[in-house]
């Protein structure tokens, strides 16, 4: 096991922006907690109704069968199995019934679509389906998150602060505090805000671009946090090693802290997102990984701009603006102070 420690948890006074983002995430989670519980419970109840799922799966298979071009080969094969296979058609229908809820075509058109087959069962299903869509409309993931069904500019921001569960929030916040605080104390608070929001937006854009067939909503700070991780992973490739905690064996000397190159962060934290995207079927929600990748691309872009000198550390920016404000007679003294600050910066880097 290995975990990036970097500078560990720093005081809120040293990383106010990071803690502000943390507080916002926490606040939104507390606000939406009850709504999540209620909506999840109601939706779970409907989804656990096997006859509802079975009929829905049957109807979805009929829709796929009729309009093969707009559905993925995987869905086509599943529909064929549901329609043709005697032995496992029930399970296939239930699975398709679950997948139908994530499918934008089905969710948008099913309530008015003319299905053949058991009209009595279809009528009963249609009533439940309408109830289900009403529940979706009130679900915090759809209100705060991004989906193909509901997508507004405000949700591109709000989704970054909403979480669907305690674990989801916990891990995102752990990484936000570790990486956000590290970036803020080394580069400045503006880098944290720029990376967090920018990564979130790019992640959301890529998600909505990639999620062609999916109607599943996207919530969470994962994309934004991926941006911060990528900023550190790529931004520190030619800089000092970073502090990690490792635990290999329960013996002295085989666990503790170690300084390792930043590419390890790319391998450990970012490659799994690409793996997740490639390894999961789109029908089963691989598109969420695309948001992580989008966030990471933004973070890597910020790192590149910083390496090229386009972006500067906050305190360097402040100094530059001070220099411009000062009169020519002060220039000589400023120059010396700038040199001394550069020297101290270099000495700091060597020391670390």
């Amino acid at each position: 096991m290995i975990f990036p420690i970097l500078k560990g948890l720093v005081s809120p006074t040293l990383a106010p922006m990071t803690f502000l983002l943390f507080a916002l995430n926490l606040m939104v989670f507390v606000i939406t907690l009850d709504d999540y519980d209620r909506a999840d419970h109601a939706m779970d109840n409907m989804i656990s109704d096997s006859s509802f799922l079975e009929v829905q799966g049957s109807l979805f298979s009929v829709m796929i069968d009729r309009e093969q071009k707009i559905f993925t080969p995987m869905l086509q094969a599943l529909a064929k199995k549901a329609l043709d296979s005697e032995a496992d058609s029930k399970e296939s229908k239930k699975l398709l019934g679950s997948l139908a809820i994530r499918n934008i075509e089905f969710m948008n058109r099913a309530d008015t679509y003319e299905f053949g087959g058991d009209q009595i069962a279809i009528e009963s299903w249609r009533r439940k389906f309408t109830d289900f869509k009403d529940l979706q409309d009130q679900h915090p993931s759809y209100l705060w998150g991004i989906s193909r069904i509901k997508k507004d500019w405000i949700q591109f921001v709000t989704y970054q602060f909403a979480h669907s569960g305690v674990l989801h929030l916990f891990w995102n916040m752990v990484f936000l505090l570790v990486f956000g605080a590290f970036v803020e104390t080394t580069l400045g608070g503006s880098f944290v805000i720029l990376t967090y929001l920018g990564s979130g937006l790019l992640g959301a854009y890529i998600f909505s671009f990639m999620s062609g067939i999916s109607s599943a909503p996207l919530v969470g700070a994962s994309a934004a946090v991926s941006g911060l991780i990528a900023l550190v992973g790529f931004g520190w490739l030619r800089r000092e090693k970073l502090k990690f905690f490792f635990w290999l064996l329960p013996m002295e000397g085989y666990f503790g802290f170690v300084n390792l190159p930043s590419w390890l962060i790319i391998i450990v934290s970012l490659i799994p997102d690409v793996t997740g995207y490639l390894g999961a079927s789109r029908e089963f929600g691989s598109v969420a990984y695309s948001a992580h990748i989008g966030g990471a691309v933004w973070g890597a872009g910020i790192a590149a701009l910083f390496a090229l000198g386009v972006l500067k550390k906050d305190h360097e920016e402040a100094k530059n603006s001070n220099e411009k404000d000062q009169t020519p007679k002060d220039q000589s003294s400023n120059k010396s102070s700038h040199d001394s600050s550069k020297k101290s910066d270099d000495s700091q880097r060597r020391a670390s």
Partner: protein, 711 residues
């Protein structure tokens, strides 16, 4: 390969190994624990890369599992494993050849060195080392234990590639393996190798077994009941074959026929309808099957299915199509009054009774019966026979039944039902000898279960009125003989209430009555209690008998089974006052007209009520029974007696007129007669409004005694 290992003599002579230099390695060797920790650390870097390389294949494998395509799954898994091995070899080769060690080794300051130069291994050496290292994983990494079992701590991959692993940090360097260390490790190594071999062999065997029995697994699922093996068997028995579409229609046809004959359960029929729905989209037969399957538990939905079956069937308006006719015959009320707002199925008040009595249902039923021909589908004929048997025992109906059963082959499914229908029709026509002959002949091909069922029915029917005639003795004797002949089924059969009751009736019809022996034979407590009650009745201990019978009634009130009916019938024999009768009446009112025993108990109840001159309450009972069978003379006559007794002379004379017409027309029942009776009944019932339960009204005349029919 060197260092006293494989082919060492030959190789050392070729490349002039500096043995002194190699000996210096003996004190610099890396510790096994460090090597283990380094391997674990390698996983931190390697596993994300491995997952990335395998990702497309794992997706394929997951999709193959979902789609159940074994070949695709196998191909994906093999590809994933292959890609993983390639990556592992590249990973090991690259880091060893370029950096002198994998990331984990570098972190722990270890190096892989070539024994020839004590420097970084050549690429070919690094490649061979990586290849062998990867291969060792296939045997659970057993050769890795070579770090203990080999004197110079060189597992097989080190020896194969002429390399060794040394520690740069002096504090972490270790020496040669000790003898105890080598001995223990060798033992472990052998054990792990053996386990690996067993796992490989077991997996190979399992793989072969699984793939060899795939077809039989599918077959066993069919036979387990989900796909109704009874239907398949019946199809085979009837020699039905054809194309896939045709065979599905045949399946439904056979499934509904078997269901109508009581030889298929609702779950199986439901599965058949589901199968048909999603194969053919909409077919009238699939709607009918679905409706039949859910009619008992979801009548509202069932009525919608019945309506749909009629809607979707292409037939002319003069006569319903076979499917629509079948729906009406199976559930006349549900199929006729299908619209939800027209009938509240949960409401048990009198409005439902009125609706049940409505001529619309009856007319529909007659219409449906009119559509049944000898050439009609089997399911329609079976449903028509069932309907005819439940309606009345008129000769015309019985002749009709005989005409329909002639179109079937008794030896083929549903043979038991057909034989039973034939026997019942002959019995009701008074052709007991023929009925018995059919019973005997059907024994030739019917199975033991079928034989018992046929004889049981005849015994029950013959003893229905509580008398032991010659025919009853003969029929019940045959039943008892058949039941006792099949020792294997004796106890299990007697656990069924209807079989036990028939057995008790039959045994008591026999000349020598032995209650104790009979009680011993019946395996169920209710049955024993019934025998005890009958024994007490025989011994004139009426109160004890009544208590026992009441206990049986109470215990079986929710079930409404044969014990419940029999106990009520026997209680009727003990009725001495109207209070006794009220309990039996309430029991009867709890029964549905379709319940077995409804008619028998109702008729006996009606006769008994007239005997006790409870006229006003007898009329609704008579009307209810008349509705069920408008040609039943016992019912009509007793209804007329009750009406006359209650002062409803117009009603009574109307009934008597109907009875006379029935007699004149040789018991040919007409819709007109029925409607007359209903209109009279409704009129008079409205006049009787307000009379409480058993609120005795003074009789205006003496009852007309028409008891001769009973005798």
């Amino acid at each position: 390969m060197v260092l006293d290992d494989l082919f060492s003599e030959k190789r050392t002579s070729e490349r002039k190994l500096n043995r002194e230099m190699v000996r210096s390695l003996d004190t610099q060797l890396a510790s096994p624990i460090d090597r283990l920790a380094a391997n674990i650390a390698d996983l931190v870097v390697f596993l994300p890369m491995l997952a990335l390389v395998m990702a497309p294949f794992t997706r394929q494998a997951k999709e193959a599992v979902i789609l159940g395509t074994d070949e695709a799954w196998l191909a994906a898994v093999v590809s994933a494993v292959f890609a993983g091995f390639i990556l592992l070899i590249l990973f090991q080769t690259f880091f060893v050849a370029v950096y002198g060690g994998t990331p984990g080794k570098l972190v722990f300051r270890m190096r892989v060195v070539s024994v020839w130069s004590l420097g970084r291994p050549r690429p070919i050496e690094a490649f061979i080392r990586a290849l062998v290292w990867s291969g060792e994983l296939a045997v659970l990494g057993a050769p890795f234990l070579g770090v203990f079992s080999n004197l110079k701590r060189r597992p097989f991959h080190d020896r194969a590639s002429d390399t060794a692993v040394i520690a740069l940090n002096r504090k972490r360097q270790t020496g040669l393996s000790t003898l105890p260390e080598m001995s223990v490790a060798s033992g472990f190594q052998s054990a792990v190798l053996a386990v690996a071999a067993v796992i490989i062999v077991v997996n190979l065997v399992e793989y072969r077994k699984h793939h060899g029995s795939l077809q039989s697994a599918i077959l066993s699922r069919e036979e387990s009941g989900r796909l109704c093996p009874a239907v398949r068997d019946a199809l085979n028995d009837n020699g039905v074959s054809g194309k896939r579409t045709a065979s599905l229609n045949d399946r439904l046809n056979v499934a509904i026929t078997l269901f109508a004959a009581g030889e298929l359960n609702t779950n199986c029929l439901n599965e058949e309808s589901e199968l048909a729905f999603w194969r053919h989209r909409e077919t009238p037969l699939s709607y009918l099957a679905k409706g039949l399957a859910i009619a008992d538990r979801e009548p509202k939905r069932a009525s919608n299915y019945f309506s749909k079956s009629c809607e979707t069937e292409a037939g002319d308006k003069k006569e319903p199509g076979p499917v629509c006719a079948a729906a009406i015959l199976a559930h006349p009320t549900l199929a006729t009054l299908g619209v939800e707002d027209e009938l509240d199925f949960d409401d048990e008040d009198s409005s439902i009774q009125e609706k049940l009595l409505s001529s619309k249902i009856e007319a529909n039923l007659d219409h449906a019966l009119g559509a049944v021909k000898a050439a009609s589908p089997s399911y329609l004929k079976v449903l028509a026979i069932r309907q005819l048997l439940s309606r009345d025992t008129q000769p015309s109906s019985m002749f009709r039944i005989l005409g329909l059963v002639d179109a079937f082959d008794d030896a083929r499914p549903p043979g038991n039902f057909i034989s039973q229908a034939r026997i019942q029709a002959l019995f009701h026509l008074g052709r007991e000898m023929e009925a018995t002959a059919v019973l005997q002949s059907s024994s030739d091909y019917a199975d033991a279960q079928g034989r018992i069922e046929l004889t049981r029915w005849l015994c029950t029917a013959e003893t229905e009125m509580g008398k032991c005639s010659e025919h009853a003795r003969s029929a019940c004797g045959a039943f008892i003989e058949k039941l006792e002949a099949s020792r294997a089924m004796f106890d299990s059969q007697l656990k069924k209430s209807e079989v036990a009751v028939a057995y008790i009736r039959g045994s008591l019809c026999a000349e020598s009555k032995n209650f104790d022996e009979l009680k011993e034979k019946i395996p169920v407590a209710d049955g024993k209690k019934l025998v005890e009650a009958l024994s007490n009745m025989n011994g004139k201990k009426e109160e004890v008998a009544r208590e026992l019978l009441m206990a049986i009634v109470e215990e079986n009130r929710d079930v409404g089974d044969a014990y419940f009916i029999e106990a009520n019938l026997r209680l009727l024999d003990l009725v001495r006052s109207s209070a006794h009768l009220s309990e039996i009446l309430s029991s009867w009112q709890e029964l549905e007209p379709t319940d077995p025993g409804f008619k028998t108990l109702g008729r006996r109840l009606l006769v008994q009520m007239n005997k006790l001159k409870i006229w006003h309450e007898a009329i609704p009972v008579g009307l209810k029974l008349a509705k069920l069978d408008a040609g039943d003379r016992i019912v009509l006559e007793n209804l007329a007696i009750a009406a006359n007794g209650a002062g409803q002379r117009k009603f009574a004379s109307g009934i008597i007129e109907s009875v006379q017409k029935l007699q004149m027309q040789k018991n040919l029942r007409t819709v007109k007669n029925l409607k007359n009776l209903e209109s009279l009944g409704e009129l008079e019932i409205s006049n009787l409004g307000g009379s409480g339960v058993f609120a005795r009204k003074p009789a205006t005349s003496d009852p007309i005694t028409l008891e001769s029919k009973d005798k």
